[in-house]
Amino acid sequence: MSNTLKDPIQIRFSGAGGQGLITAGVILAEAAMMDGRNVVQTQTYGPEARLGSSRAEVIISKGTIAYPEVTLPDVLLCMSAEAAKKYGGKCTPDTVVIFDSTNIGPEFTSPGRVFRLPITETAIKVGTKVVANSVALCVLNTLVPVVPRETLAAAIAARVPSKFRELNQRAGEAGEQLAAGLMTTTA
């Protein structure tokens, strides 16, 4: 992993409605703001409350951010096969691409640096697939340290209802371990 973080850094979360991707984008944006940086978070979704395609984007910079949407992502998270198909190709060879292998088969590829991790499966092991977004956020932030890990943990805790705080904390830790394991095996 690169030690110098790009500025601005462009992050795209993609998947299906109901996977909590917009919430994940908001949490990362809040963490970056807590870290003293400027953020813009946008979203694209269909008329459906669940399923359909969903996309959240976050741009983080020490400077001002004029154009609010991602042109080419530095980090791309895909949580569904449809998202992998739609966005997998829209990146550079340097883009860190995270595929949730629970939902995305090996037939899906990307020109970026692809990491395949069973994000939803990990969330189910923690307790429920509802926390897949917390797993994904911490996978992402371990592979590309966008914000200090404590700041992200605080932002997750601040956003989720108190009775689910501990569950999401465990989900986040599981995500960190998942990514850390991959980093040692592929190093």
Binding site: V26, E30, M33, N38, V40, A66, P68, T71
Partner: protein, 383 residues
């Protein structure tokens, strides 16, 4: 130092309305404006202010007009389909010189269209949606902080000029979150309508002084053409009254023409934009400057009364004006008219429900250079 907060455009709008002293909201929820209403539904009762969910948008606009005459500072928020329903009421607000604010978070249309996709298709409807010549002010916002500031300014304009004010937002800004410096009380001026010095001699339609019902004056309010006391007139008197009403905004265009400039002083090429499109437009200026093209941006916050004098200044100096819009070309017609042949005016449209990118605007800007003799700059490199 004020507090930083990560908030959505719609949240900024709702809180700015409270900041401006809005104490009456009536509306009917519709994507992508619903968060404005949702937030006010729980914030206004806490402050002892009035919130009503109406049966539809016709009732909503009627309620905010009536409440304004009851002495309240009033707001409704909607999107295209609801905005269309409000048009008759907006005309009534205009002829009765009622201060009120209508927020329109634009979505792809016409009709139900694409509720969750942004657009700028309601520019002409905001200016000309109601029938007859009329006084109205139309403003826009392009950042979340702007959404806050322009909401407060919309209330100020409504109070100062006694007109309905339309704040045009769009789906992208409505749902976009940015960190903003949260305005403290006193950071932004809040202006209330002038009250008459003498209640006994008050004539409700003589000038901008505003005395609501029940405060000591007797008068008549009607959508009919009327004179200073509110009673029906016709012929020359009707023409005189309409001229006065339209003049309220047209004669103050310089006071109303809020705008931002970016790298415009030495520009040879200008982009003129408004609302969310000013964001990619600003990035397009940076892309063009990196190519050695002296580009600049005039970002219009006030769309109506149309600021001809701002276009004059630009058209006198540049050969090319690029006008990006998320519609098939609406404000570009006014800009082209005002430029009056002094500059080549190039519309850039995007109508697939997505935001124009900086590269799309920059490419459109260099296209005419690429075809003119001796100057081939080609396409802008995408970053």
């Amino acid at each position: 130092m004020s507090k930083k907060r990560l908030i959505q455009g719609n949240e900024a709008c709702a809180h700015a309305a409270l900041y401006a002293g809005c104490n009456f909201y009536a509306g009917y929820p519709i994507t992508p404006s619903s968060e404005v209403m949702e937030i006010l539904s729980y914030e206004m009762p806490k402050l002892g202010r009035t919130f009503i969910q109406m049966e539809d948008e016709i009732a909503s606009i009627s309620a905010i007009i009536g409440a304004a005459w009851g002495g309240a500072k009033t707001l409704t928020a909607t999107s295209g389909p609801g905005f269309s329903l409000m048009q008759e009421g907006i005309g009534y607000a205009s002829i009765t010189e009622t201060p009120c604010v209508i927020v329109n978070c634009q979505r792809w249309g016409p009709s139900t269209g694409q509720p969750t996709k942004g657009a700028q298709g309601d520019v002409m409807q905001s200016i000309w949606g109601t029938h007859g010549d009329h006084a109205i002010i139309v403003v826009t916002a392009s950042t979340v902080r702007d959404a806050f500031d322009m909401t407060v300014k919309s209330f100020n304009f409504a109070q100062q000029y006694r007109v309905p004010v339309v704040l045009l937002m769009d789906e992208v800004l409505a749902h976009m979150r940015e960190n903003i410096d949260w305005p403290e009380p006193g950071d932004i001026d809040v202006i209330d309508a002038k009250r008459p010095a003498d209640v006994k001699t008050y004539k409700p339609f003589a000038n901008d002084e505003f005395l609501p019902f029940g405060q000591g004056a007797r008068y008549h309010i009607t959508g009919l053409a009327h004179g200073a006391e509110g009673f029906a007139v016709s012929d020359e008197a009707a023409a005189r009254e309409l001229t006065r009403m339209v003049g309220k905004v047209q004669n103050h265009v310089r006071d109303l023409a809020l705008h931002d400039r970016y790298m415009l002083d030495d520009a040879e090429l200008a982009i003129i934009s408004y609302g969310i499109t000013s964001r990619p437009a600003q990035s397009a200026v940076d892309l063009l400057r990196a190519q050695g093209i002296r580009a600049g941006l005039l970002s219009l916050k006030t769309l109506w009364p149309f600021p001809d004098f701002l276009i004059d200044e630009v058209a006198e100096r540049v050969d090319t004006i690029v006008v990006p819009e998320l519609n098939m070309g609406q404000l570009v017609r006014e800009i082209g008219r005002a430029a009056n042949g002094r500059s080549q005016v190039i519309p850039v449209s995007r109508i697939d429900g997505h935001l124009l990118t900086p590269a799309q605007i920059a490419d459109a800007a260099v296209a005419p250079f690429a075809t003119s003799a001796g100057k081939t700059l080609g396409k802008v490199v995408r970053s």
